[in-house]
């Protein structure tokens, strides 16, 4: 008998009735009619409006904060500063929590432009903003550093006196950690190579760019208990973090997740929530805080920017003999850039005997980075995929053939160590090679690029409840906020198991008091993990329904089985009884023992990695340096696409975010360390007229760790685009682009430099 925590849910091949179809999502009508309630769409009686004062300096000692004038302003009900956020014991012992606290409200120093230093709650927004202007903060401006390479220099301004990976051996530094991944002997591998390519790269910091700014409404009573409504990828995480930061009992805060207007990893952290709770506690009234776009850019997580070096060697036949990478990621003012995952993911698409990836986690005077879709992987993949194509070109091998020759396969050893189970990379490469796109002709000034990508995918703690209603419908309560249509997938899986109609299931996101703990919706886990729990909960419902049928018929429970959405007698002693449908049993629930419900709680694991291959055609305008994406195809392994339309949507959305990161998006700082493009006008995300249709091919190689074969799909799609586009652009421009975003000025400079180099060579 396997332990309950061992995987009871291995993949079983089957024909699906609902899964794999494209039904309308349960929250659809609300979202097309404006009824859906997002973070900023709620009010409470007597509600105050909160606003946050932010540092105008990149790095400064906060000598004093005088709030007297603000407090005296009519309509101001509470002001909080660092003094209102004492360091409780739980925080003292946990550096990660301490960093969150300091990020939410600055202490001795402001560490970046936009760092919160005080907050007010007032009767209306205008008064709150006025009050901020009355807070007097005395700063002593310090030297700052923005760039990851400069932050590593010996004379760089130091952010934290108690940080540095060799701290204890030497003096503090901005290098918070070092990581090394790999196996074999890279030096020997390079010695055996016929051809070696090595290059350095830079990537800018991109923001997740969700259209909904962070928003929350806190309502804490005089007894210290209360409620918090917010847009987040994980309301249980918000509850636990906020209560620990503020020294509250976990059970004293009930958090409800609103509809969420995009997250992409950026809403897996808290920013304004602890501040709103602190203000509400102090004012004794509900407090709503809604960030404006400027604040979103200045004070929430963009991703890390990176400085990268990659070297790969291969035999003349294309066999890679060694691969090496050095990754430096700055993750803003606190440790924890995703460089570990970058180092593990860098070469994950390749089957390598000799491989090494070294990463440095660096702090700079920028906002604390937050996870962004496959955190850490896209930058590393950009550099690696650029070098792979350059090496294939040098050897005269088609880039897909080169990748096929070296691709990670079923049961090959991954570059980060473990042996893969069944994986779908080769299938995506073969499907890509067979597309009409890959075999179509190119126009003038156009180039074609391909790149592969990988993401681990995670499971995590999950709890689900499925309540059967009197009329034969069912209410499904899950704890993973739905950021891209996951409720539709949950309903499909529940309907599949129960044998009832998709429309008879209604899914909601339960609050923190009504379900067991759920991890944040991250790592592409919602459809996998909540889906897994949903399937188990549905199986429990079926068992209970069979038991009721057995009672009704007066036969043993094991003489009843579930078939085609009904309990039927089975076996020699069962006797002759007409099947009892889901609806029949639901109707009699009260008379046969009470309400029927299924629930399941699990730490789900085994989400199964998802691989992708992208193909892109790009055109360069040699006069302006502008790049146009002409055609784009995503080929990705979904294991099993539960709702193919939303799978395609994940592919397309990730690809377009990657296009933005590759071509335009980056944080631009003044020489004072002030963010210069903190708005959608100057931080330019792709708009409809920038893009072609995004073609998709769904590969389905079942995940052995899921009953339906499902893999997470949300993150992998952002991993290949930057490399694929860089390869296309480099082919079109006839010079290797090594810095992203490949914005027009940068491309123009590259073209000019290349022309003058060519002239000089003549």
């Amino acid at each position: 008998m396997p332990l309950e925590t061992d995987f009871p849910q291995g993949y079983e091949k089957r024909d699906f009735r609902v899964v794999g179809k494209r039904p309308v999502r349960p929250d659809g009508i609300d979202k097309v009619t404006g009824r859906a309630r997002f973070g900023a769409d709620t009010v409470a009686p007597g509600m105050l409006h909160g606003a946050i004062l932010r540092s105008p300096h990149a790095h400064a000692r906060i000598k004093s904060i005088d709030t007297a004038k603000a407090e005296a302003l009519e309509g101001v009900k509470a002001v909080v500063t660092r003094d209102d956020f004492p360091i409780h014991d739980a925080v003292k012992e946990d550096r990660g929590l301490l960093d969150i606290l300091v990020n939410c409200m600055a202490r001795e120093k402001a560490l970046y432009d936009g760092h919160a230093v005080a907050a007010v709650a007032a009767t209306d927004k205008i008064t709150a903003r006025k009050a901020l202007k009355l807070i007097e903060v005395e700063y002593e401006v310090l030297g700052h550093v923005i760039d990851e390479d400069l932050a590593m220099a010996p004379d760089a301004p130091i952010l934290h006196d108690d940080l540095g990976y060799d701290y204890g051996k030497g003096k503090p530094s901005n290098v918070a950690g070092r990581t090394e991944i790999g196996h074999g002997d890279v030096d020997a591998g390079f010695a055996a190579a016929d051809r070696v390519v090595e290059r350095s790269f830079k990537t800018g910091a991109a923001h997740q760019g969700y259209i909904e700014p962070h928003a929350c409404l806190a309502n804490i009573g005089a007894d210290g208990r209360g409620e918090l409504w917010c847009c987040t990828q994980g309301h249980f995480m918000v509850r636990d973090t906020v209560t620990q930061l503020l020294g509250m009992d976990v059970s004293n805060l009930r958090v409800t997740a609103s509809e969420i207007g995009g997250g992409f990893g950026g809403k897996t952290a808290v920013f304004i929530e602890p501040v709103a709770v602190a203000l509400s506690r102090k004012a004794g009234k509900p407090v709503k805080i809604v960030m404006d776009r400027h604040e979103v850019f200045r004070a929430t997580g963009p991703t890390a920017s990176a400085s990268l070096w990659v070297k790969v060697g291969a035999k003349a036949d294309g066999t890679i003999t060694a691969a090496d990478a050095l990754l430096k990621y700055q993750g803003g003012a606190f440790q924890g850039s995703p460089v570990d995952m970058g180092a593990m993911a860098a070469f994950a698409c390749y089957n390598l005997e000799n491989v090494r990836a070294v990463g440095y986690d660096i702090v700079t005077n920028r906002p604390k980075q937050a996870a962004y879709r496959a955190p850490g992987a896209p930058m590393a993949a950009f550099a690696v995929e650029s070098v792979m194509t350059e090496l294939a070109d040098a050897l005269g091998i088609d880039p897909i053939d080169f990748r096929l020759k070296n691709a990670a396969r079923d049961h090959s050893k991954s570059s980060y160590g473990p042996t893969y189970n069944e994986i779908g990379l080769v299938e995506t490469l073969e499907a890509a090679k067979a597309t009409e796109h890959y075999n179509s002709p190119l126009g003038p000034n156009q180039g074609r690029g391909v790149a592969c990508g990988f993401w681990f995918n995670f499971g995590g703690q999950t709890a689900v409840t499925l309540n059967v209603n009197l009329d034969g419908t069912a209410a499904l309560s899950v704890g993973t906020p739905d950021i891209g249509g996951s409720r539709a997938s949950m309903c499909a899986m529940a309907a599949e198991e129960l044998g009832i109609d998709y429309d008879d299931i209604y899914a909601i996101i339960g609050d923190t008091a009504s379900l067991g703990y759920n991890d944040v919706t991250d790592g592409s886990r919602a459809t996998f993990a909540s889906g897994l729990a949903t399937i188990q909960a549905a199986r429990q419902v079926k068992e209970r329904m069979c038991a009721r049928a057995a009672r009704i018929w007066g036969i043993p429970e094991d003489a009843v089985k579930w078939e085609g959405g009904a309990a039927v007698p089975s076996g020699p002693n069962a006797g002759d009884h007409a099947p009892l449908s889901f609806r029949d049993i639901a109707k009699m629930a009260g008379e046969t023992g009470g309400p029927i419900a299924g629930h399941h709680e699990i730490s789900a694991e085994g989400a199964g990695p998802s691989f992708a291959t992208h193909i892109v055609d790009a055109e360069i305008d040699r006069e302006t340096g502008r790049i146009d994406v002409k055609r784009y195809t995503v080929v990705q392994d979904a294991g099993k696409a539960v709702h193919p339309a939303y799978v395609e949507g994940q592919f397309q959305g990730g690809a377009v975010q990657g296009i933005g990161w590759a071509l335009n998006e980056e944080y631009i700082y003044s020489d004072k360390g002030v963010l210069e493009n903190a708005g959608f006008l100057d931080y330019r995300v792709p708009v409809a007229s920038d893009l072609p249709m995004i073609e998709t091919v769904i590969v389905e190689k079942p995940n052995p760790g899921h009953p339906y074969g499902v893999r997470g799909v949300g993150e992998t799609s952002i991993v290949p685009p930057m490399g694929a586009i860089a390869n296309a652009v480099s082919a079109a421009a006839k010079v290797r682009a090594t810095e992203i975003p490949m914005s027009p000025p940068r491309m123009l400079k590259l073209l000019r430099e290349n022309e003058s180099a060519a002239k000089a060579a003549e």
Binding site: K31, I126, I211, R293, G649, V656, G679, A688
Partner: protein, 162 residues
């Protein structure tokens, strides 16, 4: 501060409200009238989440003052469906899965409806340029463009039949 008294028409109904002189139409809709279907993504006219129509023209309601609505005709997402009957665009957005998070959806639907009123047969490029002021971060626009074209086709068929 003296407030301004405004009489206007919203989704066909006469509405009266008091607002601060510097208050945007978006704030009036959301905070004073409880019509939170229009969203604020930026407050600076760059994202289109707050798109409404004013006398038939699409406008970023975050850039217009509430006081300026006096005597005008405003259309918001809340007025798009007729009772239980969804507008074809709304239906097609659902059929095509043209929304993921849905925060951009109200603004895009309002903008797209105006397009189809003027141009019943837009090309893909025309749809893309018309919607260039409406950011969507989730979908990559592919399914949005398809849904708009499909709705246009259906509406043309209906008009022909009539």
């Amino acid at each position: 501060m003296t407030k301004t008294h405004v009489t206007t028409t919203i989704n066909g109904d006469t509405v009266e409200y008091l607002c601060d002189p510097q208050e945007t139409l978006l704030d009036v809709l959301r905070d004073r009238l409880g019509m939170t279907g229009s969203k604020e993504g930026c407050g600076t006219g760059d994202c289109g989440a707050c798109t409404v129509t004013v006398d038939g023209e699409i406008v970023c309601s975050c850039l217009m003052l509430g006081a300026e609505a006096e005597g005008r005709t405003i259309g918001t997402i809340e007025g798009m469906a007729e009772g239980e009957m969804l507008h074809p665009l709304q239906r097609k957005f659902l059929d095509h899965a043209a929304l993921q998070c849905g925060i951009c959806t109200p603004g895009i639907l309002v903008a797209a409806r105006t397009l189809l009123e003027r141009n019943p047969e837009p090309s893909e490029t025309e749809v893309r340029y018309w919607l260039a002021g409406n950011l969507c971060r989730c979908t990559g626009y592919d399914k949005i463009v398809r849904a708009v074209m499909d709705a246009a086709e259906e509406m043309r068929g209906r008009n022909h039949a009539a």
